[in-house]
């Protein structure tokens, strides 16, 4: 744990240095150098940003656009960035706000669209990836068709369950559980109180456990055991 926090502290320091340098270059009108230095920040946060946006939007193309928009927006507004806040936190807020705006726009758009027969559309439950050719997958030594199908099915279930969570619970769950942020970090990212973050996380995990069918209540187990005993006796 101490290794992880040391690494994240190093990342934050590197971010702060890079952000300051980009700001200085922008102020001096040396745009090419500013862009070059900013690419360092992009490559460091790109994967994480894509994961977060993907769990919000559930569509790879939309995620691509949201991540691009967030990086461009952050670059354009970097002169107003306060350095006492970690770049990661500031950038993630921009990204999440962008994702929420996209979801709202999509909801508005879909209200006017007639649903097509075969396609489930974006959002809830549309976690399926585009299917690649099975022969290609076999040749490349990938998972068997059964495994691929099970994985896809499981992903769809997770996506459906995640889509059923309220917006805040989902955000907290994705940030803390998928991205491994602490409650304090999630609090800084979302602007929520630390104890509120914990409550949201608790509710999210409880609901997901119920939705994904992993729950085995002790009372039910006991009941089942009693019933068995009665039958055998």
């Amino acid at each position: 744990m101490s290794g992880t926090s040391a690494a994240s502290a190093a990342v934050r320091e590197a971010d702060a240095t890079a952000a300051s340098a980009v700001k200085a270059f922008q102020a001096a009108g040396r745009h090419a150098e500013a862009r070059e230095r900013y690419a360092e920040l992009v490559s460091r946060h790109q994967r994480r940003a894509s994961r977060i946006a993907y769990h919000y939007l559930r569509d790879a193309a939309d995620t691509d656009e949201a991540v691009q928009d967030a990086f461009v927006k952050a670059y354009a507004h970097l002169p107003s960035f306060r350095e006492e806040l970690p770049f990661e936190v500031w950038f993630t807020r921009i990204l999440i706000n962008g994702c929420l705006d996209r979801i709202k726009a999509r909801t508005r758009r879909e209200r006017w669209l007639v649903p097509m027969g075969g396609r489930g559309g974006h959002g809830a439950g549309d976690g399926a990836q585009p299917q690649s050719d099975p022969s290609e997958r076999m040749a490349s030594g990938g998972p068997s068709p059964e495994d691929a199908l099970l994985t896809r099915e499981r992903r769809r279930e997770i996506a459906t369950a995640l889509a059923k969570l309220p917006e805040r619970q989902r955000a907290v769950f994705v940030l803390s559980h998928v991205e491994g942020c602490t409650s304090r970090e999630v609090s800084a990212l979302t602007g929520l109180n630390e104890s509120t973050v914990r409550v949201h996380l608790f509710r999210a995990i409880r609901k997901l456990r119920t939705l994904l069918g992993g729950e085995a209540a002790p009372a039910a187990e006991e009941q089942r055991a009693k019933g068995k005993r009665r039958v055998t006796s």
């Binding site: 745009h31 090419a32 500013a34 862009r35 900013y38 690419a39 992009v42 490559s43 790109q46 994967r47 894509s50 994961r51 993907y54 769990h55 790879a60 995620t63 691509d64 991540v67 691009q68 990086f71 461009v72 670059y75 354009a76 976690g127 990836q129 499981r154 992903r155 997770i158 996506a159 995640l162 994705v174 559980h177 998928v178 914990r198 996380l201 608790f202 995990i205 409880r206 997901l208 456990r209 119920t210 994904l212 992993g214 729950e215 085995a216 209540a217 002790p218 009372a219 006991e222």
Partner: protein, 199 residues
């Protein structure tokens, strides 16, 4: 066994596991009950696997190649952002086609002028013809419609307001009587020109 002890010995529910898991703390029951410890371990494994599955899914959607393309797009957009905006003049295309070649421009001008003149002339002719046709059909009776244009011109004689009685009589005398039987009577009648001469 007291009620409190019995309550304390009850197995933990998933709800409690979720609370323990979220806060990161422990529970005294977990230390005492092996079955609940196993179930909590199972819960913990489920939660960790869920996170891993979600990460894997996102990573499968965003391969290194895709991320490289995304980075290139970001770089391109940033470059566009830094470049000052260019104002495009409007409209330019129509002029640009002609401006390069002066002889083309001259021919286009001549052709346009010629078309204008031809159009104007044609318009006048068509208009005149239509007027003539209308006048002709109004003046000529139905049985004259087959007559030539010259005949129709003769038939239509302008009415002069200065045409007095004397001139009319002189014209009548010049023509003479058209019926043979009236010629003798005509000879007895005094001539208008003689009367005028006498005056």
């Amino acid at each position: 066994m007291s009620l409190l002890e019995r309550f304390g010995r009850r197995h933990l529910h998933d709800r409690q596991f979720a609370r323990i898991w979220t806060t990161g703390g422990g529970h005294p029951h977990l230390e005492q009950c092996a079955a609940c410890r196993v179930r909590f371990d199972d819960f913990d494994r489920w939660a960790v696997e869920l996170g891993e599955q979600m990460r894997d899914e996102a990573d499968a959607a965003f391969t290194p190649d895709r991320l490289a393309v995304q980075q290139a797009h970001i770089a391109h957009r940033l470059e566009t952002l830094d470049r000052p905006t260019r104002v495009i003049a409007f409209p330019k295309a129509a002029r640009a086609v002609i401006s390069g070649h002066s002889h083309v421009r001259r021919w286009v001008t001549v052709a346009a002028a010629a078309s204008l003149i031809a159009g104007f002339g044609l318009g006048q002719v068509v208009d005149l013809k239509r007027t003539l046709d209308r006048d002709g059909s109004a003046a000529a009776p139905r049985h004259f419609t087959t007559a030539t244009t010259a005949q129709r011109a003769n038939a239509i004689r302008p009415v002069s307001t200065s045409y007095n009685d004397e001139e009319f009589l002189m014209d009548a005398e010049a023509i003479g009587p058209r019926v043979k039987e009236l010629r003798a009577l005509d000879d007895l009648t005094p001539r208008a020109r003689d009367l005028i001469a006498r005056k």
